[in-house]
């Protein structure tokens, strides 16, 4: 089938012929000289405008973003701020990792972007190359890596029946070095990403492969099951799995280098060389995932009481002790039900997110013995998803400074223009007045 490229190339045959074009160099030099002369005039006017703009009260906190701190200590900000859409990106500021929060937020006037928050409290957009959707980003537990499906061009006609873009692999961005490692899978029609999950420094990624291209609204995939890979970013080791051997990962938490997940009532541990080891079976059905305490003495989970996993309703918080044998006998933690369980703060407290009538979703600690709740972090007003790397929940809390709030560049230009207009009008009025006096 004739592609758009072929048809455009055919149309381009109607273009005028090429060949030398004498005189362009000299005209380019003249253009350069005119620009330099014009620039001198503009600079002079700008000096006058500056006084006017400062008088409007345009003062901005400088964009001093602290550099990345490899191996740097993680810290938990006491609050998050709403990122300005006009924050700089890491292509401009340099890397800021490891990150202690990742926020989906509006970028510019119309797009969506990923903001990283550094352990020093700096905010910057993460410039992730070939990012498709900001919804499919997953950050490693230590805040160093950000994994996401890569957008690109497959070998043949892409399948865009479920997405506007075609996916061709996995990108992992290192927030400390600023480099992105790419794992591309050669396919005829592109991929449908499935799971992206982290266990320590290992990312687990699975996908479906489309059997045909186009956007006829019906996406069929090869065999209908996952292919997958476990990729240890620290060592570089990769292990491919076929659809039978890749672990069935749902909501995943991290414990050391293991990925902890729940399959039915089974608590499962996955490592790169032991992809599915059963730890035990809960006596209740868990809602989503489970979290193992830092000292590996307890497991926390939400109990699924309405028999509808991912119902989004609040459920009882429960804990169990793996020492109790293959059957993981749970006991409920006193207190109100919980909407989201996020991890452990320390061996005696878990972190939850609670949505109250006045709250947009505060982060609290819960004593797993008494049920006592205390505020941990204020998420602020966010217009997108908030992701906190799992290890950060155990970090020391610090008083987070407010990030810069840059203006819309167009507003800045308007202010400068308004200032220049004021100066010019005032100057013209002064000249006219002087002439009138002389007369």
């Amino acid at each position: 089938m004739t592609t758009l490229h072929d048809r455009l190339a055919d149309l381009a045959d109607d273009a005028p012929p090429g060949g030398p074009a004498p005189g362009l160099w000299d005209r380019g030099r003249q253009y350069h000289r005119r620009r330099r002369a014009g620039t001198a005039v503009i600079v002079g006017a700008a000096v006058l405008v500056l006084a006017t703009v400062v008088g409007i009260g345009w003062t901005q906190t400088p964009h001093e973003v602290a550099p990345a701190r490899p191996g740097g200590e993680l810290r938990l900000p006491d609050r998050l701020y709403t990122p300005s859409p006009w924050l700089p990106g890491t292509d401009e500021t340099g890397p800021i990792g490891p990150v202690v929060a990742v926020l989906t937020s509006t970028r510019g006037s119309e797009d969506s972007g990923i903001v990283g928050v550094s352990a020093a409290g700096a905010y910057a957009f993460l410039d992730l190359e070939d990012l498709g959707s900001t919804e499919e980003v997953e950050v490693s537990p230590n805040g160093r890596w950000v994994a996401y499906p890569l957008v690109g061009d497959p070998e043949g006609e892409p399948n865009t029946s479920t997405s506007e873009v075609a996916y061709v692999g996995l990108g992992v961005h290192d927030t400390v070095t600023g480099e992105t490692e790419r794992l591309e899978v050669r396919t005829e029609h592109g991929l449908q990403p499935a799971t992206i999950a982290w266990g320590g420094s290992t990312v687990w990624w699975s996908w479906y492969q489309y059997v045909d291209g186009g956007d006829d609204g019906f996406a069929r995939s090869v065999e209908g099951q996952d292919s997958g890979i476990a990729w240890d970013l620290a060592s570089g080791e990769q292990r491919m799995f076929d659809n039978r051997d890749f672990p069935r990962l749902g909501e995943v938490s991290s414990l050391g280098e293991s990925a902890i997940s729940v399959s039915g009532r089974r608590l499962v541990e996955s490592m790169i060389h032991a992809p599915e080891t059963e730890i035990g079976r809960f006596d209740v059905r868990p809602e989503l995932g489970a979290f193992v305490s830092p000292d590996i003495s307890r497991v926390a989970l939400l109990e699924d009481t309405d028999d509808a996993s991912m119902s989004g309703l609040a459920e009882p918080l429960a804990i169990t002790e793996p020492r109790s044998g293959r059957t993981l006998v749970t006991s409920r933690v006193p207190g109100p039900r919980v909407e989201r369980l996020l991890g452990w703060r320390d061996d005696g407290h878990v972190v939850i997110q609670a949505f109250g009538r006045k709250s947009g979703g505060d982060y609290l600690t819960v004593d797993v013995v008494t049920g006592e709740r205390r505020p941990l972090m204020d998420p602020g007003q966010q217009n997108g998803e908030v992701r906190i790397p799992q290890d950060v929940w155990q970090a020391e809390v610090f008083d987070a400074p407010a990030p810069p709030d840059p203006m819309n560049p167009r507003t800045v230009i308007l202010l400068w223009g308004a200032g220049a207009a004021v100066v010019l009008v005032a100057g013209a009025a002064l000249v006219l007045w002087r002439r009138r006096v002389r007369a």
């Binding site: 758009l4 048809r7 381009a12 109607d14 090429g18 030398p20 119309e110 797009d111």
Partner: protein, 158 residues
Amino acid sequence: MCERDSFEEFVAARRGALLRTAYLLTGSHEDAEDLVQVALIKAVPHWRKIADQPEPYVRKVLARESVSRWRRRRWREVHTDRVPETAVAAPTDDRIALREALASLPPRQRAVIVLRYYEDLTEAETARVLGISVGTVKSQARDALARLRTGAADTVSA
């Protein structure tokens, strides 16, 4: 080789290819020649820095000029009365339909289509050339393809 010589060598070698891109961006011989001329003139002050690989810079200027200058014109003009002077072959219905459909696109959508599907740039590269975000490239391409499918009959597929 002095800068002037390397510039003129580049022009002789690549002006034809630039004119093809410019023709797709503008739809007329006269405008295409004007656009390429502007892009090459603007490249001269920077030639010392870009002489090793001038094409990306010249292409960037070409694409951005096509959007900024021609944005002021009525982009809905359809050049049905202009038959190319040096057509390689008699224009087919297909070719006419595509030319008219391209001419109906706003300048930036047209630039995105030409850069993505003629120059075969990635979305990220297209975003860098035009100075816009990748998200904008995606949305502009989607809208442009939808318009092309409506206007250029039934065989436009990316």
